[in-house]
Symmetry: C2
């Protein structure tokens, strides 16, 4: 008889966002008037259309697919050379970082890559994650059998949660014990925090010393405004030997619906076999890609390439500035409402502390019912998210301003 | 220290097609004149442009992405309702098969799904595969740790290979022993064979009796010409309780470069937990999709929807008929050349037997050097592929005719 993967049965309830969707649906069905003025600042989805350069590239690529002599069938699983080169050149080499074209793997999403990367890693690794944390890191480890059961707070036995709090600026302290794999995400989702060069250097040094691997999620890199903050983990000496970096076109070019991202697996990066012999991970990821993936749509890769054109860069800058402007409006509004507020300066997310004694889900319900605004309860991201909530800056400016006003009018 | 997944180190050499590409490259560099007349009938990639209905749908969807009020960000991970409904209605319900919209999961490729499906299955399953076989089924099981090492023929310890030969019409006999998971692919890649209703019924009965699961790959369904041959495993009574079906838009609509496919996971399908309690696989696959995937590009889903429009259906039919016409030309040419030939009637592939004593790779080299045609060596698909080679019908008619001529002129 066929067996299923028992580890899936350990997963707690639904993924965070389906639960939010459920509560919003129930509320809206019972309150049609409030539903009509609902503003969504929950899920981190972009709202503005694709840049003109991207649209033009899409139309051109579609026309190529209509003619036999310019039609594109199967492409290289790791991405077309034109896109890998554009990424490596613009995002890395132009910034003085030695990333080769073939260390860049184009994919259909960072979420996929963050989960799939576990395929090439051993089951015996001791895994550290930030808390609060992007749920995908946790859930994919549960699915892979790297954990025991969850406790009441949703924390799984077998994972090492690294607290991220106002006290440490939402960047975890270097642990005493040894971790083999550590997930780091900066600019951070959900807290909107960034890690300084010194903090990242401490983590890279830790990884090199312990021969650990950092899984560095930089999906929000475009939002960094402070010139002192590193955009890539590879700005830290030694990181090419200990870090995999995940990037996305979702939040800069607005590709959440178009789907394109990339992952950098440096050739200098090694990990140990079961008998302790170190060997490169690059060939393993290459093999995984060519066996379990068939590449990103040709038309979408041409669209991603357009982000690196001169006009593409200008248009992406305008998009990011728009969302950062929203974040500023929301941050000031939440602050004026008397809330303690973090993030929103180098990230599209505001991380607000609910008034004393109010839990995250209570805050969610209050803001939904009283202000008709959807936010994300911080406890959905882990134990240390309790008492916080996330407000997303992905919206129109008018909506951001309206949310800022409503937050100030809100009675807790 | 970080550990890698040791199972990857068991994988034999490269994937079949990179090795073919390498040999072709070496030959072409040494023989520029022959290179100029090279015709590729190796990899199963389509050659004709996308249907006009698909192109129109793509342009329209791209324009939607350019305007704020019609922009699409994150979509449902399992696919938009418009596409799931079109698939379930046209491919199943219109043929009398009770597949619900939400049993259809839209993905970016059948290759991905065939690999990813192992995520939700247990490691203790006894796995059966056809031989010759699509290498992805094998390699993904190796990566997941379901096998021991490979022997000289490339067969992995721990997998059960089911011989597919001219004697059984390339449909494996029902085994005596119990298999928990069985991969079946019809119309078959690489042999071009189809399975009759009686043969599929025997397999479904076997699966029901043993509570096994059939992983049914029907990527070439559109090529079935014989009205007696089932298009879907769900045409067999009971299959909704024991089979997952993989389908693709690659070989009907020509989406190899655009990327869209789907997998049907029926709600009636169950598998056992480690303690032998049967529970549905549908919620597990749903959870996997929403956690490790972010859906197919909106524009590509609109393109796939267009395949089900009246004009889309007509245009797809023309494409498929074109490739089937090539297959007929190639089949007749190979037969006239004195080869024993299979397939090519309900599939785009010809499965030719090399002259006695000639191995698959010898045949590959001879056909490359003497006829300047790239074919696929049968032994790359498994031990029972030895002595055979695959000729792909994905080409222009002129090329198919030229290949037919060259095969007849070939001296072995």
């Amino acid at each position: 008889m066929a067996y299923l993967n028992d580890h899936y049965l350990k997963l707690k309830s639904g993924y965070l966002f389906p639960e939010i969707a459920r509560r919003v649906k129930v509320f809206c069905e019972g309150n049609p008037k409030a539903a009509a003025r609902l503003i969504r600042c929950g899920i981190g989805d972009v709202t503005e259309p694709l840049p003109a350069a991207v649209i033009a590239a899409l139309h051109k690529a579609v026309d190529e697919m209509a003619r036999r002599d310019t039609f594109h069938g199967y492409g290289p699983e790791q991405g077309y050379e034109f896109l890998r080169r554009a990424i490596a050149q613009n995002d890395y080499r132009d910034r003085g970082l030695e990333v080769a074209d073939d260390e860049v793997f184009v994919s259909d999403g960072s979420k996929c890559d963050c989960g799939n990367i576990l395929d090439i890693l051993g089951h015996q690794n001791r895994i550290g994650l930030m808390d609060p944390v992007y749920p995908v890191y946790v859930d994919t480890n549960v699915m892979a059998g790297h954990t025991g059961a969850a406790d009441e707070s949703g924390a799984y036995d077998g994972l090492v949660y690294l607290p991220c709090t106002p006290a440490n600026g939402f960047v975890p302290e270097i642990p005493d014990g040894k971790l083999d794999i550590v997930y780091l995400c900066y600019p951070n989702n959900p807290t909107g925090a960034v890690a300084t060069r010194a903090q990242l250097t401490a983590w890279v040094d830790y990884a090199l010393k312990n021969r650990s691997i950092l899984l560095y999620d930089a999906a929000y890199e475009a939002y960094i405004s402070d010139p002192q903050i590193p955009h890539s983990i590879y700005e830290i000496p030694g990181a090419l030997e200990c870090a995999i970096e995940f990037r996305s076109f979702s939040k800069n070019g607005g590709f959440t619906g178009l789907r394109c991202a990339f992952t950098v697996v440096p050739k200098a990066l090694t990990a140990a076999t079961g008998v302790g012999k170190f060997t490169g991970l690059h060939p393993l990821w290459l093999r995984r890609s060519s066996t379990k993936f068939n590449g990103v749509s040709y038309v979408v890769q041409r669209a991603a390439e357009a982000i690196y054109s001169a006009e593409g860069k200008t248009q992406v800058r305008q998009l990011v500035d728009h969302y950062l402007g929203n974040a500023q409006v929301l941050r000031e509004g939440a602050r004026a409402a008397g809330l303690q507020v973090y993030g929103g300066e180098n990230a599209p997310y505001i991380w607000a502390q609910a008034p004393a004694g109010v839990t995250s889900w209570q805050a969610f319900d209050t803001v939904l019912k009283e202000a008709n605004v959807v936010i994300t309860p911080g406890s959905g991201f882990g134990r240390n998210g309790e008492g916080f909530f996330r407000i997303s800056g992905f919206n129109s400016r008018a909506n951001a301003e309206e949310v800022a006003r409503r937050l100030q009018a809100l009675k807790w």
